[in-house]
């Protein structure tokens, strides 16, 4: 085992270099290939491993109010819940397409008319891979997630990226 620091040729399995004491521990144990490790993790880890966010509004809340809340919370997505049930989702994209430009709807419109109704959602026990799948096929950046107790939160591409960017694979 050639020491990476000083070049000394150590006998295989040496704990540290005989010449300079640089530890050789991490160099002779097989390192998992990042790619396979990553591929395995997204399949095995479920959505509970991702961080998430939560902002919910009632269906009759006016658009201006919803936008205001989103701005204050610095979130790009609001869930529309009626009696705890998920009936719609309103995101930055909806805001861009429906509330701006020539054909903009009035800001007093109740959100239930502006939201994307009956959105797709995932369960917390689903894998991260399925979130990636949904986001890429459906071109979403936000996905509602239902917890085992029936409540919801939102996870987004931002949270997936944070998971992928961790240093150890």
């Amino acid at each position: 085992m050639i020491c990476p620091s000083c070049g000394y040729d150590n006998i295989e399995g040496a704990d540290r270099c005989d010449e300079c004491l640089t530890p050789l521990f991490n160099l002779d144990t097989p390192q998992t290939d990042t790619a396979t490790s990553l591929a395995r993790s997204v399949m095995e880890d479920d959505l509970s491993k991702l961080e998430n966010e939560f902002l919910a509004v009632a269906p009759d809340t006016v658009a201006a109010e919803v936008v205001d809340q989103m701005k204050q919370a610095r979130l790009g997505c609001a869930l529309v819940l009626e009696n705890g049930k998920l009936i719609g989702i309103f995101t930055e994209r909806d805001l861009l397409s429906k509330l701006t430009g020539a054909a903009a709807l009035p800001r007093t419109t109740p959100i239930k008319q502006l939201m994307s109704a009956n959105p797709e959602f995932l369960r917390e026990t689903d894998s991260i891979a399925s979130a990636l799948n949904k986001m890429s096929l459906g071109r979403y950046r936000h996905i509602p997630v239902q917890k085992p107790d029936g409540t919801y939160y939102v996870t987004s591409i931002k949270h997936v990226l944070k998971y992928l960017a961790r240093s150890q694979w």
Partner: protein, 620 residues
């Protein structure tokens, strides 16, 4: 070099405090280079004139997963302006490079001790790996300590950003030099010795050398300029006898000692051994000295190892075998053969926690009975035990000298603490080391294989290949003088007594026991083996307070020094601290009829100075 942190304005006033002794423990994952860091700090401290004593704490597993508890590697160092003999009872400072290191080592840190923590490694995964339910940096559990959390990994990589062509992994490996730099400032150490070392060792890798240099200096400057540390500590030079010194561990000294002994005797060294913790390093070290003619033989088992050593001794080499407790148990029948054939043989036992497989990496001294009495029949052998890592060198030479002089096996009892601990060693002048005299029988006229030397009762050493001296030896009882197989009852009793007498006569070569302190008093603390450091330090401390306590340390355990009885009788109480249940204590009680008190500690750890002080005070 990019300094990330600007010195705050206005400049902060830093204090400099003088302290006498500091104990630091460096702890991290095996891959963090704590041995390197600790060794560098130690060497620098030695160069500036402090007395040093170190003890590494190696990981329990061979290759544990990164960040896990069994993968924690530690290095404890005690440095001082005084004469010190132990690596410190408890660390004053704990440098923890990851959560697992903190978890494992925090219980040893003194109350109110200083913690220097690499906060970057306290991630969710690492905390989980260290079995932490909550983050100790946040949950208040470190309230009783002086905690300094530094994002060492980040500071390290920032320091090197853009300055060197190294991968992220290589940069990350430099962070231990950052920690070292911080500690160098904290304890007022110069950077030059380490800088010189970096440039010497890494000259084949200039990018890495530059990186380590940069990081070392950044760490130092960081500590100097930020608010994190307000006080630096100075430790004055110790009063040390002038001379040339080197750092040495017990196992190194043991190996070098035996090579030297063979040279001093003008004979070839034959080392028969079988790998066993913590003695394997002796085999590794000796195997590198073939240019001294040293023949190392890794045998198929412990018994083959000692038998080969006996065979080599029969043929005129220095017959040496080395092992730990379980190995000695296996070797005893063969050692009995060496006693019966009256051949020189040295058996090194680097004692470890027992019984059975016990605690391979922990220290203990519970093989004394085994060495003195562990064979079938009346089977006496000589027993010696070094007291410090450097003393291993002296006692190695001594054991060979005794084996040759008395034609008898000699046990050399070291232990895990001595084997791995390091201290400064005043290197001897080779020319001043006395030769070991050896004479071989050559004259066939009236040659008798079991004729005895008048003084020592040793029989002649007649080497195969010598014309006219052909004779047979073996394990069956021998007739005195002729060496023929003999079952005569009178002869047997005579031979049993002669073999005992021969060992007893070795007392002529045992220097009188020296007492540290007053020759008479209330308490005598008597020890053997590696307890020397703790006992002497404890007794010295109490003597400075005027307490009537003295100490003495046995390096020869069979036979005892001739004046031991007298020494014991001069004290009201004799306390024997031992890492066993009272083996030496039992021996001296039996032989000298003295009501000695056994002070046992069988925890796989050496005695702390305070433990001995507390025990002695019960009798003052």
């Amino acid at each position: 070099m990019s300094a990330v942190l600007e010195p705050p304005v206005p400049a902060i006033d830093k204090n400099k405090e003088e302290v006498e002794t500091v104990t630091i423990r460096f702890a991290g994952d095996s891959g963090d280079g704590m041995q390197l860091t600790g060794t560098q700090f130690t060497n620098t401290s030695a160069i500036v004139g402090n007395d040093i004593s170190t003890l590494p704490d190696f990981p329990a597993e061979i290759r544990a997963p990164a960040g896990s508890l069994p993968g924690v590697s530690g290095f404890q160092l005690n440095f001082s302006s005084q004469d010190i003999r132990t690596p410190g009872d408890q660390p004053n400072v704990l440098v923890a490079m990851n959560p697992a290191a903190l978890k494992v080592n925090l219980p040893d840190l003194e109350e109110g001790g200083t913690l220097i923590i690499n906060s970057d490694e306290f991630t969710k995964e690492n905390l989980e790996r260290a079995a932490y339910k909550s983050n100790p940096l946040e949950d208040g559990s470190l309230a009783g300590y002086r905690v300094h959390t530094l994002p060492i990994s980040t500071l390290n990589s920032n320091a090197l950003k853009g300055t060197v062509e190294l991968s992220r992994k290589e940069i990350s490996r430099c962070k231990n030099f950052f920690a070292l730099g911080v500690l160098y400032w904290l304890y007022d150490r110069p950077l030059d010795p380490t800088l010189n070392w970096i440039n010497a060792k890494f000259r084949k890798n200039p990018e890495l050398a530059k990186a380590n240099e940069v990081v070392l200096k950044t760490g130092y400057n960081f500590a100097e300029t930020t608010e994190v540390f307000t006080t630096a500590y100075t430790i004055k030079k110790a009063v040390i006898a002038p001379g040339r010194y080197r750092k040495i561990t017990g196992n190194e000294a043991t190996a070098i000692g035996f090579v030297t002994a063979a040279e001093l005797a003008g004979r070839t060294l034959f080392y028969g051994s079988y790998p066993i913790t913590p003695a394997s390093d002796i085999l590794h070290e000796l195997a590198r000295h073939k240019n001294f003619g040293v023949k190392t033989f890794q045998a198929e088992d412990e018994i083959a190892a000692v038998c080969a050593a006996i065979g080599a001794s029969f043929a005129g080499h220095v017959g040496l075998t080395g092992t730990s407790g379980p190995g000695v148990a296996l070797k005893q029948e063969a050692i009995g053969l060496a006693v019966m054939t009256e051949l020189p043989l040295v058996i090194v036992n680097v004692q470890r926690g027992g019984p059975s497989t016990g605690l391979p990496t922990k220290t203990e001294q519970a093989d004394l009975f085994q060495a003195v009495w562990g064979r079938n029949g009346e089977c006496p052998a000589l027993v010696v035990a070094p007291a410090t890592p450097a003393d291993c060198f002296n006692m190695a030479i001594e054991s060979v000298r005794l084996a040759f002089k008395y034609m008898v096996p000699v046990f050399y009892l070291s232990d895990g603490y001595l084997a791995n601990g390091a201290e400064p060693w005043a290197v001897p002048a080779i020319e001043k080391l006395p030769r070991i005299e050896v004479t071989f029988a050559t004259n066939p006229t009236n040659f008798m294989p079991y004729a005895r030397d008048e003084a020592t009762l040793a029989r002649p050493w007649a080497l195969p290949g010598t014309p006219g001296l052909e004779h047979r030896i073996g394990g069956i009882e021998k007739q005195n003088i002729t060496g023929n197989v003999n079952y005569d009852p009178e002869n047997h009793q005579l031979m049993v007594k002669l073999r005992q007498e021969k060992v007893d006569r070795a007392v002529a070569d045992v220097p009188p026991l020296e007492v540290f302190g007053e020759p008479k008093g209330k308490v005598l603390v008597l020890g053997w083996g590696s307890t020397y450091g703790s006992i002497t330090s404890a007794v010295e401390k109490m003597q400075k307070e005027g307490k009537p306590v003295s100490s003495a340390h046995l390096r020869y355990l069979n036979p005892f020094p001739g004046n031991l009885g007298e020494v014991l009788r001069n004290f009201e109480t004799v306390i024997v601290p031992e890492m066993n249940l009272g083996q030496l204590c039992t021996m001296i009680r039996a032989k000298y009829l003295v009501d000695a008190v056994a002070f046992s500690k069988v925890k796989g750890r050496p005695f702390q100075i305070r433990e001995i002080i507390r025990k002695v005070e019960e009798y003052l």
